[in-house]
Symmetry: C2
Subunit: 310 residues, 2 copies
């Protein structure tokens, strides 16, 4: 039996819609892979999903990813998966991607590590496609590799690893509001103004430079979303107040995580991230009347890794 | 008398529409600033423009830029400018920007260097606005500072200096075809598809990372324009053939320089750039029947600088 932890992730990161993401240090999912009699992939159990995830191996991202791995390896060995969800579903912090990544990495370990990371990435993305109907390389790649990842291309994958400035930390507020990714995407439409798009690529270029030079002031100025956030802001009650609270607390920037409802802030230190996270939660709770969770952690430098079974 | 050389520049650089540019080593413009009796700015002479540039100080980018400098410095000293155009007009390699930059740097030297570079940048952009009716920070900033420059914001200027990989060189083909910048811009429309825009910022982010890591293979994959070039390609006869010739010659990438008609290619060495430049010229000349020029040079690491008068 092999247990693998894969961290959640923040995608889009304000100015990198669909192409940029970073790994959290925590929370994440753990998937245990065990050999089973007979070939194929089965799901032995799912914990922490409140019964909401499919246990049909073809429709669950974790098992679908492993099925793709097994298909590519042409192995007849059977694998049973036990999924421990540490990430809330449909929260915007890469829950489905983390399960797919943890599952393929665990299965690959169990089989003696026949596949390189690039193949595991493709299998995890295939699992997301099967389980969610869409692929999120900006979630899957940080969950697998850790750090900040730019996906120059999703298919074929062209993955660019970006440096993480020392001390960089984040706060993630998860409002107890559910947003369906497909609906959030429809809000965007399929056209954008050239002016807004130009501002977006100016900011993304500057953000990449800021990560390479550890220029946190530039990073802060670059954390602006001219494309998705303006159209999706209404999905999160009090987003303006949450952003203002993060800024007052000294965060470098604050925006939707993926398609929401989670909201992330980046900060120069874990202490500032903690202050910002508390302020963001307070701002949301005052406006909304529904609950929320906050996580505060360093930006995750490590991706999926084997952990010992408790 | 002070003479200042400012190099031409390539803007857009395939994936950085309106925000990215790099300096050429040559060609460029030289502007000589001399003290004159009486206050204000005058144009003593313009060489190399075939009589096409305005000698009305308010309508010439060089003198308009110096007028802005004088206004800001509140000086009553008068300055006469002599402009030596080394750059062809309306060619897409930052001709007006180079004149404006050379002029303000020369005037500032003549006055004892009272203004910092940031102020000179603002004055050069004001000169472009007065002389051309629009501002091109992606030309003006490389011409002033040298190297690759990302303009995260034009107003107020937020300028990001990007590293130049060792040996990086370029070829610029200048087809003898004239394109009016305003007309080239109208071709773009004001809306783009979210899909094309997303590919553009993925490529620009990757290009910035490639410059920081000297990853020329990534640089090459990133030199793709999904926004402007597809709509402007018809302005340059044989663009597809020129691009194919550059690729066959080993160039890293090839696209329109600014709004054209010039076409640039980047290459890993000056030798490859030379081969590419010749191939590009041959491809254009075969298709078009009109003339063309080619320049081959290192990417310019230095911006505007004082030169001795010959």
């Amino acid at each position: 039996m092999i247990a693998v932890y894969a961290p959640g992730s923040v995608s889009n990161v304000a100015c990198g819609f669909d192409v940029l993401g970073f790994a959290l240090d925590e929370p994440g999912d753990v998937v245990v892979a065990a050999q089973q009699d007979g070939s194929g992939v089965s799901i032995a159990a799912i914990h922490g999903d409140h019964g909401r995830l499919s246990t049909d191996p073809r429709r669950n991202t974790a098992s679908a990813a492993v099925m793709e791995l097994i298909r590519r390896l042409e192995t007849t060995r059977g694998i049973a998966l036990t999924i421990h969800k540490g990430l809330p579903l449909a929260s915007g912090i890469g829950s489905s991607g983390a399960s797919a990544v943890a599952a393929v990495v665990a299965a690959n370990e169990l089989l003696g590590r026949p596949a390189p990371l690039e193949v595991l990435l493709e299998c995890a993305m295939a699992g997301e496609q099967a389980g969610c109907g869409s692929i999120h390389p900006d979630n899957v790649t940080p969950s697998l590799y850790g750090g900040f990842i730019l996906a120059r291309s999703a298919q074929p994958p062209d993955i660019v690893h970006l440096p993480v400035p020392a001390g960089l930390a984040c706060a993630v507020l998860h409002p107890h509001v559910e947003i369906e990714t497909g609906a959030a995407r429809k809000l965007l439409g399929d056209q954008v103004s050239l002016k807004d798009a130009t501002r977006q690529w100016a900011n993304l270029g500057a953000l990449v430079a800021a990560l390479h030079t550890s220029d946190l002031a530039l990073l802060s100025r670059s954390l602006v979303d001219t494309i998705a956030e303006p159209k999706r802001a209404s999905l999160v009650p009090g987003l303006a107040e949450i952003k203002a609270a993060a800024a007052r607390a000294g965060a470098l920037g604050c925006s939707l995580s993926g398609s929401g409802p989670s909201v992330f802030a980046l900060a120069a230190s874990i202490e500032v991230a903690r202050t910002a996270g508390n302020a963001m939660k307070q701002a949301f709770d005052q406006v909304s009347g529904v609950g929320s969770d906050v996580w505060v952690c360093p930006v995750g430098r490590s991706g999926a890794r084997v952990v010992s079974l408790k």
